[in-house]
């Protein structure tokens, strides 16, 4: 092996790396927020919605969960413009990722809702709460606590999956990697360094999620 590694050539591009890192963080945060909202709505529809809406929710979840994100992004970014819907790469990335996360989180949240004991719901109704109020004040909090670990691992997977949107040209961290690669031709060093940055992000996300769990579910008195 007579290859000399030169990780130092990366240092000249730290601004690009930081820019990409920030966009990856923004994209992940925005996707988590939108995906979570979609997930809660779809999960509520799948467990208690009227018949037709329930079927639509099921079709949505099954379609998204059984096709690759890459192809979903291609349909949004390359396919939809032929129907007159044109997005920038970053918009298409946010839309694709949110739709994708929405389907996954819906399934996790549904499992959480179904894990809440029936007596809790009956007790809520006995207190005079209507269906929405029972869902909002009785079911949701308990369900979220039960599924918190599964949900946050899904968020971390999502953060790692944001790298896929580089294929349609959204300029997040992984896209910056191919940019630096095209300038330096230090492919191995560039991709190793960028991959390790993602590892750091995973650890950061785990820490933040553990802290949130502690603040929301542990420190707070039972209610």
């Amino acid at each position: 092996m007579n290859y000399s590694f030169r990780f130092s050539s990366l240092l000249a591009y730290r601004d690009e790396i930081i820019e990409g890192l920030l966009l990856t963080l923004q994209l992940s945060a925005a996707t988590i927020l939108i995906g979570l909202v979609i997930g809660v709505v779809i999960a509520a529809l799948r467990t208690g919605g009227p018949g037709p809406l329930r079927s639509i929710a099921t079709v949505y979840v099954e379609t998204i969960r059984n096709t690759p994100l890459l192809v979903q992004l291609f349909i949004i970014f390359f396919g939809l413009p032929s129907l007159g819907l044109r997005f920038t790469a970053n918009e298409a990335a946010l839309i694709g990722l949110s739709i994708n996360l929405g389907a996954y989180s819906a399934e996790i949240i549904r499992a959480g809702i179904e894990s809440v004991r029936k007596s809790q719901i009956e007790a809520g109704h006995a207190l005079g709460l209507n269906g929405y109020q029972v869902f909002r004040h009785v079911v949701l909090f308990q369900a979220l606590k039960a599924i918190y670990p599964a949900l946050t691992s899904q968020f971390i997977l999502l953060m790692l999956m944001t790298s896929i949107v580089s294929t349609i040209g959204a300029n997040e961290l992984f896209h910056q990697a191919s940019f630096i690669d095209s300038r330096t031709f230090r492919s191995f060093e560039v991709y190793t360094a960028i991959t390790l940055i993602y590892l750091g992000l995973t650890l950061l996300f785990r820490g933040v999620f553990a802290a949130i769990y502690w603040c929301v579910f542990v420190r707070r008195p039972a209610r």
Binding site: Y3, V71, F74, L160, I194
Partner: protein, 216 residues
């Protein structure tokens, strides 16, 4: 020269799906063998072995597949081996599968009741014999549904191999799109083929799960 998207193109995509399936099977076979070792290392009563397995699993699960693909694609040539996209893809997806399967199978191994370990020890079996004849056969039953479920993830993620130029279903779709410029038709067909493969696997996984719970 732009031409129409026709029936021949659907056939072309179906043929390309062979490579998606082949890549999945290869990754499953190699990854499964590695995963068995990692899962056992994860549960043996020897701390350093556990740490090694945990480190491996966290490293693979904590980095994006796309990054791993590029590291192997360019990494092999750094060491002087010139390999194609197929070898890089099989290596990456085997490693990816091994980390996730190891974690799934560890759960199965640990769900076998402790009394099984104790009673087989009382029968005079050593550690490996207990694993081989008592624990693993019971864990396999529990592990089949989530393993089939993981296959869905694997099939979908093989689409990323298109990025390093391996011609499987997604890459074939991109090539067709360049020739026909009918992105909606091409990618919806691609998505439909993935859906048929993945949905059948998802359903199989749910069925198997139901069957196991009934048998208990």
């Amino acid at each position: 020269m732009i031409r129409e998207f026709g029936f021949d193109d659907v056939l072309f995509l179906l043929l390309a799906a062979r490579w998606t399936i082949l890549l999945t099977l290869a990754a499953m076979a190699i990854g499964g063998a590695v995963a068995l070792v990692v899962a056992i290392l994860r549960i043996v009563p020897f701390r350093p072995a556990n740490w090694l397995a945990i480190g491996y699993i966290n490293l693979v699960q904590g980095t994006p597949i796309l990054g791993q693909l590029f590291i192997f694609f360019f990494g092999f040539s750094v060491f002087g081996w010139n390999v194609g996209a197929w070898t890089a893809a099989v290596t990456t997806f085997s490693i990816y599968a091994s980390a996730y399967l190891a974690e799934i199978w560890r759960g199965g191994l640990q769900s076998v009741p402790k009394t099984q370990w104790e009673s087989s020890a009382a029968l005079g079996l050593n550690y490996l014999q207990r694993l081989r004849y008592v624990i693993i056969p019971q864990a396999v039953r529990i592990n089949i549904p989530p393993t089939v479920g993981f296959l869905v993830q694997l099939v979908k993620n093989t689409s990323l191999a298109s990025v390093i130029g391996f011609v499987e279903l997604s890459r074939a779709g991109q090539m067709l799109n360049n020739a026909t410029f009918a992105p909606m038709a091409v990618y919806l067909t691609v998505a439909a083929i993935y859906f048929v493969i993945c949905f059948s696997l998802s359903r199989a996984s749910q069925r198997l799960e139901g069957r196991i719970h009934v048998a208990r």
